[in-house]
């Protein structure tokens, strides 16, 4: 059920006329803003073709800078999210443990890593800890540090997702598991986690977007990802502003692509398993976002 159908009545003739006027005004406003921005950029010489043509004519812009960065960004994000998933499962279920000591230990770890800025963790690991460990080759220290920091942070967020996902399941699920003679561990593993994980999947992929963007912080410990390469490109071609705009566009396209992938996955699973969200969340508009697909979203979801 869409928001439009629930939150307001079908507009009558006067409301429709008013909406049309507002629509035209809104569109005009957008056009006016766009016009001013383009004119000012032109005045400042930022639209000179010399600044923009390298992106089309010089393959080195892509092969020597931007694609190197894109690959590094994706690599760091893929490793981190895979490991964060494992970390989150471990500590999320740890927080559901019936052993108070385990519950507490996991809680402290999760809360700590959610509190420290990713950048500070990267600096600490990349310059303080890893260079002293011989098993990590020097050339890989930045990548390993970026991946670890992103794993600890995103893993803590995922741990909260897991905990909330299991908690939000109907109580009957756990009780049913116990009543047919499963142990607590078996109930968690065989009954509760599979359902919770299905609910988490969209938010999990949403967290991938966060990891992808946060890998940009790796510049501080020499991890050369997309943003760093964009900066270097801007210096080499004296086109800093255009380079940043192109990099921003690349990030947006990459993340939108991921988001759509996440939605497609979610739709597939909903079809397969029959969606219990049929009761109808209010705000699932024409273009539903990941996190709002479920009637009761778990707390502590995707964090910026």
């Amino acid at each position: 059920m869409s928001a439009q159908a629930v939150l307001f009545d079908a507009p009558g003739p006067r409301a429709r006329a008013r909406h049309r006027i507002l629509t035209v005004l809104g569109a005009l406003l957008v056009l006016a803003v766009a016009f001013v921005v383009v004119r000012k950029m032109n005045d400042a010489g930022q639209l000179d073709s010399a600044l923009w043509t390298p992106f089309l004519t010089d393959p080195a812009v892509w092969s020597e800078y931007l694609l190197l960065g894109l690959w590094a960004t994706v690599k760091a994000a893929v490793f981190s999210i895979a490991l964060a998933g494992a970390f989150g499962l471990l500590f999320g279920t740890g927080r559901l443990s019936h052993n108070a000591a385990v519950r507490w230990a996991c809680g402290v770890i999760v809360e700590f890593f959610r509190a420290v800025p990713v950048l500070i963790m990267m600096l600490f690991l990349g310059f303080g800890v890893y260079p002293t460990i011989d098993a990590i080759p020097d050339s890989q220290v930045p990548l390993v540090a970026v991946v670890t920091a992103l794993t600890l942070y995103n893993g803590s967020v995922v741990a909260e997702l897991v905990r909330a996902g299991v908690r939000n399941l109907p109580k009957g699920q756990g009780e049913a598991g116990l009543s047919i003679g499963l142990t607590r561990g078996q109930t968690l593993r065989l009954v509760q986690l599979p359902q919770a994980l299905r609910h988490m999947l969209p938010a999990l992929i949403g967290q991938f977007v966060v990891a992808l963007k946060d890998s940009a912080l790796g510049y501080a410990i020499l991890y050369q990802e997309l943003l760093t390469w964009g900066k270097t490109l801007g210096s080499a071609y004296s086109n800093t502003v255009p380079a940043y705009l192109v990099v921003a566009l690349m990030f947006i396209l990459l993340n939108v692509g991921l988001t759509h992938l996440a939605m497609a996955v979610d739709r597939r699973m909903s079809r397969r398993l029959g969606d219990q969200g049929a009761a109808g969340p209010l705000a699932t508009g024409p273009e539903p976002e990941l996190e709002v697909l479920h009637a009761a979203p778990p707390p502590g979801r995707t964090q910026p």
């Binding site: 939150l7 930022q46 509190a115 950048l119 963007k213 996190e291 964090q303």
Partner: protein
């Protein structure tokens, strides 16, 4: 480590961090609520704008938004918020922190709207409330209470993300760290102090919001 505390104004830098956090928290709450309302409004253009806002802002690294705000909006488009660069940087940093986190606030609110049963909206309409009235009187108050936990996460993230203001010259905690590193070389003591400062700032926020979300949850 002690000499860093005596030689540099660490406390002052964290006060600055706190100022960014508080102002941007208010800003992002206002903008985020507006965007969330736009996204469920009856007017197509507004819905489209709201969706566009969330998609672009949420998918761009904050670092880029910050730099482009000063280089692009302030310097090229000419939207200087003050003739004084220090004030200009501070204001733009607050604006960009607000704008960035507003996208997450809007999403949190939408998820909050989701926790409101359909019957509430139908009841509001059936007693003759308009779209604005039913949002204001019925839906949003419940949505806010349902969105406390994700709003808390956003506030924690905002506190930590103030570090990004250093790329345009903000003089908060991370900006101080880069000055210390330039003068003293990389010093683990400095990293440790700054990390500890953030833990002190964010841990209580997390605990408070977990508590609040349980206390304010709408019983159904």
């Amino acid at each position: 480590m002690i000499d860093i505390l005596t030689e540099y104004n660490v406390l002052g830098a964290f006060v600055e961090t706190l100022k960014y956090t508080v102002l941007a928290a208010i800003g992002s709450l206002v903008i985020g609520t507006l965007v969330a309302v736009m996204r469920v409004s009856p007017i197509g253009v507004l819905r489209g704008l709201g969706t566009f806002y969330v998609t672009t802002i949420r998918n761009t690294p904050l670092t880029l938004l910050m730099v482009l705000s000063i280089l692009g909006l302030a310097f090229i488009v000419g939207l200087q918020l003050s003739e004084d660069f220090n004030a200009n940087t501070f204001r733009w940093a607050v604006v960009m922190l607000s704008v960035y986190h507003a996208a997450f606030v809007a999403e949190a609110l939408r998820s909050g709207v989701n926790t409101v049963p359909t019957g509430q909206a139908e009841a509001a309409r059936s007693i003759g409330l308009t779209f604005g009235q039913s949002l204001r009187e019925v839906i949003l108050p419940q949505a806010f209470r349902g969105a406390i936990a994700p709003l808390g996460s956003t506030l924690i993230a905002l506190t930590k993300n103030t570090t990004v203001a250093q790329v345009i010259g903000g003089s908060e905690a991370a900006g101080l760290l880069s000055t210390i590193v330039e003068n003293e070389g990389s010093s683990y003591g400095a990293f440790l102090i700054i990390a500890l400062g953030f833990v002190i700032l964010t841990l209580p926020t997390g605990i408070a919001f977990t508590h609040l979300s349980e206390r304010l949850a709408v019983r159904r």
